[in-house]
Amino acid sequence: MLKIENLHTTVGGHEILKGLSLDVPAGEVHAIMGPNGSGKSTLSYTVAGRDGYAASEGAVMLEGTNILGLAPDVRAAKGLFLSFQHPMEIPGVQTMTFIRTALNAQRRARGEAEVSAADFIRLIREKAKLVGLDDAKLKRPFNVGFSGGEKKRMEMLQLAIFEPRFAIMDETDSGLDIDALKMVGDVVNALRGPERGFLIITHYQRLLHYIKPDRVHVLAGGRIVKSGAAGLAAELEKSGYEQFIEAA
């Protein structure tokens, strides 16, 4: 589903990703853990196509096509979703308007019919309940003045509405209370299926209690240095990353 081969990315003159390879088959959920500054967000930006994060080498295959070189919105329309470690505020643009504009832009790009205003309101209300955001928030400017946890809920709201093919979740669990953590688990588990893949970037195994990963990878020094089954997360939490930093 998402197959990354020998990915190299240089940011601000420093090579951050140094030949990273990773394969998440359709239907699976993989987790990536790794020390601060090891390149986890860089990986997510490179895959999503952010300016300044272009790969110098390698390939990112989404369902068989190399998406490197495609515009970020084209990748989004192909079903790639990134839950941001630090979501943005969009002043002056109502939350409902923002999400609906985005949803319809994706749908248009795929040649699908746009969602009508009435259908959209129904959809967003239903999903907002799921992620614990009330109606008043949907009418406020997008993320403006929202708490850190609310912004993460807003990312999950978009995940639930867009139903992407592949989602990268960059530290969605950071800053979330226990109920919210469980909510993230519920949203992801509801979407889990044979046609969909997830890459979950996290520092703690607690989210992985709710979302059982098929594989866990350790990213250090710009490469995947170890992969294992779900149990690896608990092991890491005990032993830390030191051994890998030396290895990398």
Binding site: D73, A77, V93, Q94, I99, A118
Partner: protein, 514 residues
């Protein structure tokens, strides 16, 4: 004084600003036979115009006084705009469709002119309701869905006065308005039908000697709009005037005069477009507003004159004098403007707050792209006690353009308890544009409380990427972010026009990033 200038680097935008020619969708010309005096400007030109309009002697005399005065004046140079010397003898000062200046009914308006306005989304047939550009009805519904509080957007009537080059070709809903006692006529008609009213108020807010361009306008003004709302009347519909320059080498000099009697209210909107032409064309309008006790005017402008091509060739010089006189106590005026067009904009809608407790507001969006230049702002002249004013200015500069906010808040010695709040925000797109904020303050009364806030920021790469990750194309993302930046001002427009203005914001920034 707060000033921020950014000029550095290589402009990606210019390289990528593809075919901006195609982005100005109002750039067509309409093939209409026209009648014009010879090129050039002298007393005979003034007499020709006055005779064409069958004006009374006093008005011809008024024009001639202005003309003689103008000959002694010099073009102002203090604005932050740069353009070659204008040759005032190398232009036409009057142009009317040859089939005649006035039409008794909409059925007499030449079909090509009707079609021209239709292309602009301005229906002149009364059965139709003005809802702006195509798709606006759906968007208005959407906007309502978003903000349920803004009820009943669609389906409201808007009366239109359509000015084509130098003449008004149609004014709609005249009868319905007359029933309410509202006079809504082209300026020429008003001179014929209500000469005493016109004579009483004309030039009392912007005198013939006011400034170079206003004085020129006083000498050669062609047509425009006249509105009178009598005591206690709340005008039953939005009024609007659409100005269209069609003819080449022709200046447009319109005159708008609006009077609201005590306790009356009107909301008025003007829209402007012009064909794409390689040479620059001059537009020098004068707007005078008179607001009596407890009366209110909401005056909105959506200015989309042709801005010139991406290399700065052609475009309208928009040198306009607009002033509101709050003569009565508790009088209230608000100017809302969306300035996206013109090669050069030079415009400072002002409020003279003479009546005690009167209020003036100025809400402005000025967008410049490519080589456009805008020097715009407002003057709030506080003469009365307890007068209040509020200024919100949003300047957006892209390409190699330059945008200046220039504002004056002046408090007279005897004006106690004055309050002003000013907020100027500038947004820069790319590295080759400039934004400047020049607020002047003259406070001669110590009780005044004047607040000023100013920000300058660059379009955020982080926000842009976030939007694009969600599926928005670069242009849609820029449009969304800029519309968000302008939200406080867009909200002040009547609902019907807010949707149109939002689209205009998007269109005028096409090709601005890349």
């Amino acid at each position: 004084m707060v000033e921020a200038t950014y000029k550095e680097g290589i402009d990606k935008a210019t390289v990528a600003a593809t075919a901006s020619l195609e982005t100005y969708k109002y750039g067509f010309t309409t093939d209409v036979q026209s009648a014009k005096p010879p090129k050039g400007l002298n007393e005979d030109t003034v007499r020709y115009i006055s005779a064409k309009k069958e004006e009374p002697d006093w008005l011809l005399e008024w024009r001639l006084v202005a003309f003689r005065r103008w000959l002694t004046m010099e073009e102002p140079t203090w604005a932050m705009v740069d353009y070659p010397q204008i040759d005032y003898q190398d232009a036409y000062y009057y142009s009317e469709p040859a089939s005649g200046a006035k039409y008794e009914s909409i059925d007499d308006v030449p079909p090509e002119i009707l079609a021209d306005f239709e292309k602009l989304g301005i229906p002149l047939r009364e059965a139709e309701v003005l809802l702006g550009v195509e798709g606006a009805a759906a968007s208005a519904a959407e906007a309502r869905m978003g903000e349920a509080s803004n009820a009943d957007g669609g389906g409201r009537k808007v009366a239109v006065d359509a000015v084509f080059d130098s003449v008004s070709v149609a004014t709609t809903f005249k009868n319905e308005l007359a029933k309410a006692g509202v006079i809504f006529l082209s300026f020429s008609e008003a001179v014929r039908e209500h000469p005493d009213l016109v004579r009483k108020y004309l030039g009392t807010v912007v005198p013939t000697s006011d400034n170079f361009f206003a004085t020129l306008n006083s000498a050669v003004f062609s047509d425009g709009t006249f509105v009178y709302v009598p005591e206690g009347v709340k005008c039953p519909m939005e009024l609007s005037t659409y100005f269209r320059i069609n003819e080449a080498n022709t200046g447009q000099f319109e005159r708008t005069l609006i009077i609201v009697a005590p306790g009356a209210y009107v909301s008025y909107l003007e829209g402007c477009t012009a064909p794409m032409r390689d040479e620059n064309q001059l537009h020098a309008a004068v707007v005078e507003l008179i607001i009596e006790d407890d009366a209110e005017i909401k005056y909105s402008t959506v200015q989309n004159w042709y801005p010139g091509d991406k290399d700065g060739k052609g475009g309208i010089y928009n040198f306009v004098t607009k002033r509101a006189d709050c003569r009565g106590v508790n009088a209230k005026v608000s100017w809302t403007q969306v300035e996206t067009g013109s090669a050069i904009t030079w415009k400072y809608p002002s409020c003279i707050l003479r009546g005690d407790n009167s209020q003036g507001e100025f809400y402005s969006i000025a967008i410049t792209n490519n080589h456009q230049q805008a020097d715009t702002g407002t003057k709030m002249i506080h003469l009365g006690k307890n007068t209040r004013s509020r200024i919100i200015s949003k300047g957006i500069s892209a390409g190699k353009s330059n945008s200046t906010y220039r504002g004056l808040v002046s408090v007279h010695r005897k004006a106690d308890n004055v309050r002003n709040f000013t907020q100027c925000d500038s947004l820069l797109i790319g590295n080759e544009c400039g934004a400047h904020t020049i607020p002047y303050v003259e406070a001669k009364n110590p009780s005044a409380i004047l607040e000023h806030e100013a920000t300058t920021s660059r379009l955020s790469e982080d926000q842009l990427f976030y939007c694009r990750q969600r599926g928005l194309s670069e242009e849609d993302a820029v449009a969304l972010l800029v519309n968000g930046f302008c939200k406080d001002v867009l909200q002040k427009l009547p609902m019907e026009f807010a949707v149109e203005a939002q689209k205009l914001v998007s269109v005028s920034l096409e090709g601005s990033v890349g």
